[in-house]
Every structure is written in C-alpha cells, then in structure tokens.
C-alpha cells in the first residue's frame, strides 16, 4: 500500500491551440501531498486549483462521467493511453497505481485524425464521421414487431454486446503506431455483422465505414495488437479480423470494394 501522501513530478504537454506548437513543460512541485485514493483526474483537478491560485493557466483536459463509460477523458500517461492499468480509463485510474516520487508524463492522443484542441484535449469528430457512414441499423421510428419476434441466442447476443461495449475514446488509435482506427470501426461492424438486424446492410456498412476510416486519415492496421492492450473495455482483436473478412466478403459479393461502385 502506498503511503498516505505522495509527491509527483509532472511533465505535461502544453499546447495553446490547434495551430500552436506544443512542448513538454516541467512541473516538479505542484503535484505534492497527493492522497493515493485520488483518482488520476482528481489529482489533475487539484494541480489545476493550485495553478489557478497562483495565476497560471490550468492544464486543459476533458472528462465527463468519471466512471469509464462516456469516453471523454483520454490522456497518454507515461506513454500508455489511459495509463498503466489494463482495462481502465484514465478517470478510473487511482494514484495508488503509482509510487511516491514518480515522474509522470502526460500527453494527448497523437494522431493526424485527432487534432489537438488544447493541451490534452483532442478533437475526435473523425469518429463521428465513421459512425455516420454506417454505424447503425436503418430503421425509422414507428411501430415495430414485438421485441421477442426476433429470437437471438444468448451467445450471439453476448458476442454482439462484447463489440458494442466500445466507448469511442480513441485509445486504440493513440496506442497504434500507425494511428489506425480498425479496432473502433471493427467493433461496430462486428456488432451488426453477428446480429440478424444488421444483415440487410451488412455489405454496404462495412464498405462505407472502412472507406470513411481511410478518408479521415487513419492509418492501416498491421496486426501489432497495441490497441486491445490499451482498450479500457478490452475489445478483442477478433473484431478487426472479422471486419477484414466482412470487407473481402462484401467486395466479392458486390463486385467492388469501393462503396460508390459496388452494388450496395
């Protein structure tokens, strides 16, 4: 168990806005007297209070639910997206995971498709663009058949859920040396590929989403696997394999991998 009060040396990426150059700035003695029970973001809250009190600009970071489900927070901690604990978003990380006296590096997600807004905050609207290209089942609001008229085995439903649990935080992109969004996109493709509701748009969905992913400037997947290791929801690499199979299958079936040419 860590001691009751810990001191840390922070090195934080400071960048005023999208256009400015950024740099790592040293904070040797603001993160002092930190209780091990503080969450990582609460430690940052405290550091920011101290910076504001002395008239300095606080470190910009974003967060919302602070329980690992909204996907807002995202900080590269010591080179690892969301920090050292597996299956844990930065907001659920606690200072007891560190040792007294540690130097901690804080950086934003780094990817061309995620421009920095300020300091540790990045713009992930490229993810919305991918979702827009097919991350749904096309149904209108209105009367629908009874929920139990579609029977779905528990195993299939659980499998779909395991993909659907993605929180869209972007850690997979930040962890990938190629800044690929394959785990994110693969998870959504897989959810609907296994469910009966997803079948009518199965080919169109994967072709469009994969193309959009490329258009947004995300890199290619080269099977490194860092994405799953960084994922706070432990989304499995199988989702990428499935997306690839779905893609090949769709291109063959529809005559072209290009959604504009394929008969989707």
């Amino acid at each position: 168990m860590a001691s009751d009060s810990m001191d840390f040396h922070l090195k934080v990426w400071r960048q005023d806005d999208r256009e400015s150059d950024g740099e790592l700035v040293d904070y040797p003695n603001v993160a002092h007297d930190i209780s091990p029970h503080l969450s990582f973001l609460e430690m940052l809250d405290l550091v920011n209070e101290r910076l504001i009190e002395r008239g300095d600009r606080p470190i910009a970071f974003d967060s919302d639910c602070r329980e690992g489900i909204c996907g807002t927070c995202g900080i590269v901690v010591n080179g690892q997206p969301h920090g050292p604990k597996r299956k844990t978003a930065a907001c659920q990380l606690h200072m007891r995971a560190f040792d007294d006296g540690d130097t901690i590096y804080l950086e934003p997600w780094r990817a061309d498709a995620f421009p920095v807004v300020r300091d540790l905050v990045v713009d992930r609207s490229s993810f919305d663009e991918i979702m827009q290209a097919g991350g749904y089942v096309s149904v209108q609001t209105g009367p629908k058949p009874d929920g139990n008229s579609i029977k779905i085995g528990k195993d299939v439903s659980d499998q779909a859920f395991d993909s659907a649990t993605c929180i869209g935080c972007g850690a997979c992109v930040a962890a990938c040396p190629n800044a690929s969004a394959s785990l994110f996109t693969g998870a959504k493709v897989s959810q609907y590929a296994v469910l009966p509701q997803g079948q009518p748009e199965r080919e169109r969905r994967v072709l469009r989403m994969v193309h959009e992913m490329e258009d947004q400037g995300f890199g290619n997947c080269s099977n490194i696997g860092e994405c799953q290791a960084a994922c706070p929801k432990d989304i499995d690499l199988d989702n990428i394999a499935r997306m690839r199979r779905e893609y090949v299958r769709a291109a063959a079936k529809k005559g072209s991998p290009n959604p504009d040419e394929a008969e989707v």
Partner: protein, 653 residues
Amino acid sequence: MTLDPNVPEGPLHEKWDRRKENYSLVAPNNKPNKDVIVVGTGLAGASSAASLGEMGYNVKTFCISDSPRRAHSIAAQGGINATKNYPNDGDSIWRLFYDTIKGGDYRSRESNTYRLAQNSSNIIDQAVAQGVPFAREYGGELANRSFGGAQVSRTFYARGQTGQQLLLGAYGSMMRQVDAGTVSMFPHREMLDLVVKDGRARGIITRNLYNGEVERHTADAVVLCTGGYGRIYYLSTNAFNSNGTAAWRCHKRGAFMANPCYVQIHPTCIPQSGEYQSKLTLMSESLRNDGRVWVPDDKDDCDKPPSQIPESDRDYYLERKYPAFGNLVPRDVASRNAKLMVDEGYGVGPNQNAVYLDFQTAIEQKGRDYIEDKYGNLFEMYEKITGEDPYEVPMRIFPAVHYVMGGLWVDYDLMSNVPGLFVAGEANFSDHGANRLGASALMQGLSDGYFIIPHSLSNYLAENRHDLDDISGDESAFDEAEDEVRTNIQKLVDASDRNREKPSDQQSTVMDIYKRLGRLTWDNVGIEREEESLRSAVDQMRELRHEFWNSVVLPTDTDKFNKNLEVAGRVADFLELGELMAKDALHRDESAGCHFRVEHQTDEGEALRNDEDYSYVAAWEYQDDGDGQPEGWNLHQEDLEFEFVELKTRSYK
C-alpha cells in the same frame, strides 16, 4: 394564476390516441423548410432529432461534449421498464402506470404517466429493431429483472450498460439522419440563451467551447433536452458537465420552473472517501435484486470486518421493516432508512458513513457465475474505486444525489409556457411526481423523443404556420440575447480581474465556491428538510452568490478551450437555482416522496402528505431585479386531478 395542462378529454387509455387524431400535420414538401433546434443529445435529444429528421424537418442538434454519443445518458446502468409482461407475472399498462403514480407519491399528472406506460413497450421494440444488444435468455428471448417499487419483473437491460446501448442506438439513428442531410450536428457548443421573438421561442445563442465564438441559430421551434440539474450538489452521480444552465436561461426568458425541490437521492452509491472527491459513483439499483442491505445489530460491531459479524448479529433492516418489498422498496424509502441507520450510529466502513450491500446469500444460492454475468461490470467498477472485491467483502453503500424530478414546466404536449419551446427528458418535470421509480428515466427520455415530441411539435408548426415568419437571426431579439451572453461572460472576466487585486485570502476558485454550494444544498435541501434550515438556506444562497462575484478568480481567456470559464457560468446559474430550490422546499409544507419535511411524518417515520393543500405542481415564474439577478418568483399552480386513481398513503410493508 392556475396553469392549464391542456390534457385531452376522455378515458385515460384513450387520451393520447384522441390527441394524436386531432393533431394537425405538416405536408411532406413543407417539412424541409421548417427548422427545428434540438439542444442535447442524450436519450431524449438523440431520439427527438433522429425522429424529426426522418420526418423530413431541417434539424440542428447541439451538445456540450465533443461527440453527441457522450451525453450523460451513456452512464445509465440498470435498465429500462416496459409493460411487456414477458415473465407472465401479471404486468400491464395499468400496473406500470399505477406503480409510477404511487412511487411518485401522487404528485404527478395522471395523463402523462399513463401515456408513458402506454409507450413503454414500443420503446423496447424500437431498440431491438435498432440492434440494441439487450440481455437474452438461452432460448433467445429477452430477459428481465426487477427494480424497486414494483412486484413484477419488467426491467430490460444490457448488462450494467443499458444507457450506453440505448444511447448508441438513438445516436446511430441520429447519425443516419446526419448522413441523409436532415440533421446537422453542432458538438462542443453550450447553449447560453434562448431567443424569444414575438412571444415565441425562435432560436438559441451558443458558445463554441473550442474557440469561444458566440453564435446565433434560428428555428421555428426549440426542443430542450439538456438533462437534470443534480450537479448543483457538486457531489452526485451525474456527469461532470451535467448542468442546469440551458434550462435556467430559458427560465429567465419566461419558462416556468416546476417542483425544483423534488430531487432523488439514490440509495446505493459508493460513499465519499475524502474531501477531494469530484463525484460519487452509482451502484445500480438492480443490485438490490440479489444484494441484501444490513448493518450490525450492535454499534460496537461497526468497526469489525463484516465477515466476523455472524448472521444472528446483523440487522437486515429493510427486510425487517418492509416485509412485502424488502430490499426492493422505492429509492426514497431506502435512502432515508440508510441515513437513519448512519445517523443513529450504525454506519460501517472507515468513515462510518455506509451500510452493507451483501451478495453472499445470492452467491451461495445461485453461484458466482450467475452474479458475474448479471453484474460483472458493476463489481469491477466497485473494485476499481474502492480497492475491495465485492465477491468476497460486502459492498459499502450510501445515498447520493442522482436525479431531479423537477424541471421546466410542460403541458401534455411537452411544450413549456413559452410557445415553441418544448422540453423533453430529465429537463422537464412531467412524469415522476415527487419520486422516480428506477428504470423509468430512460423510458421517459425515449418515450418523449421517439413517440411524443415528433407529433406534438409537428402540430405546433402546422397550427402556428402563419405566425412563424421567416427570420434571419439579424432581428433585435437576437441582438439582445447575444449581447446578454457576451455581457455575462465579460462579467466573469471582470470579476476575476478585480478579485485578483485582492489579498489571496479573499480569493476563491470556481471549485471552492462550487463545493460550498454543494454542501449548502445537501445539508439543507437534501434527504431531510425543515423549515428553519430552509429559511436560512435561502439567505445563505444569496450570500454565497455575493461572495462568488466578489472573490472568484479564474483563467480568463475567452477565445480558447477554458473549462473553468464554462463551469463558472454554470455555477453562477446554480447559485440562483439553489435559492429557488430552497424556496420551493420551504413553501411545500408537507412531505411527499423525496421531499421529506421532518415536520410532516407518520408515527412510523414515513412521509406524510397533505393532499388538501398541496396536491398541485408548483410552477415558478422568474422576476428579475433589473440587474440580471433574481428578485423573486411568482408561484403558479397546476392542480393535480386524480380522476382514475385513489389517493392513498404509500405503504411498502
């Protein structure tokens, strides 16, 4: 003034059908010329925007977060109610309606609550069609579990992430409309004012949270889906950015705020572990299906590890006091009892501020796998936060602020008293009376957004087409609203500049004041309220407001991402809302549901209503002091008429 809720005539079960039959429609070729603003992209907002977009309207959506998918609805854990009666345990529309009315302690509008129960089944069908991966039985059918305040099993769920899955379904439908060109998205925008022109809501003013730009947006109608104001307590289960600002600015433009003192305190949250804490984490109510609540019989045992306290020395107080509902009593009852136990000295844990929620019996009877399948992610979350393994040691839980039943007043069509301003989801006051039953907020948000707003709003546009002239955003109403927004931001900057000149012990950060506001609200307008402390709370709110403006220091760059500036604006609004909450709680001289006035309780310590004098909705009209701050409020009443249910004293024994 007495408010008219505009409820259709006829028997309860025919009201909504009759209303829909009488609604006017907008012709398909006219819809693309009608602009609708939807503020908020939680369940209520995303479902409204998707449905209105599908109908062909030109929809603009706004949210604070960087993506609409991050709305606070994403955090809902336990489930969503519907009257499917799949388990064949006797559920029906009437029963869900009745449970909700009774759960709300007879302070909700019968017609709205009935319609909610009517729509509940369609919501499940809609979500299933969207591919929402609800929990299933081995045979492939949808699974159910139980929630508090009900004796049937009617709650649908997706592990402990029901809100996430429902929201991604609604968000997906909305993104499909973005792709189709009917919906445009404006993320990282905060609505800072409502524009009212010729008495109608015609637009909003927003601030782009990335670059500080103040923008004008015009519309023929505005739908406000901005969630609840529970973050006024600082510590709550709500997300960090949840706020009351959008609703409050509408209130200051004339919309009435209804029952602001009705706040739900959720019984099962992880207790506070220290001063620095920024939020409290909910442990879903569904856990009470299998978890048993207890404290030691003997105060001297409170320090002992729970495993050393034998069965015979434990007080399962909910099972003892409420044999019929046991651990599944409604939230207000469970919360008050937990507080009672802790106040009487039976609190457990390092700070003696909790009661146990124990799964040992369930693990023995049903097996660890069963528990893991049902609650795995909640157990994991608990362990991450506390460092304790709930499979081995009982959870420690305590009540925390969770949901607000109060909100902007709306009529049966979900329109506020400002024509053209519709309010849906947690932001309105409509369906839950003085206490909401578990798993019914998701239901309400989606019922409002998928099945009510699209029809009632269309009717408004059709009926008022001659009064909704073309506007450009250059009208004086827009100039004034934008000016006011800019002035409000500048006031914060100026205050900070002034206060920086003062000695440091006369300065406070936004968070300092925010935490004190939270404490003040919790102590006085919390689980229990009483006349004297409420009176003093009204004064203390005013003093704290004064102190805020005269001591606050914050980073003042207005043209960049600046979280402190955002939060400062929200705290300034909360400081006004807090006064109204205390006033509302003071004026309601009865106990009802979550509003527990210590002066009004039965011999057994249950809430004692006064139907004679308080069977109404309190809707407050804002009065400005000429300087942008509240001078006071006028009370308007909507009388609650119970035509179909008989008012009774709630009993869960």
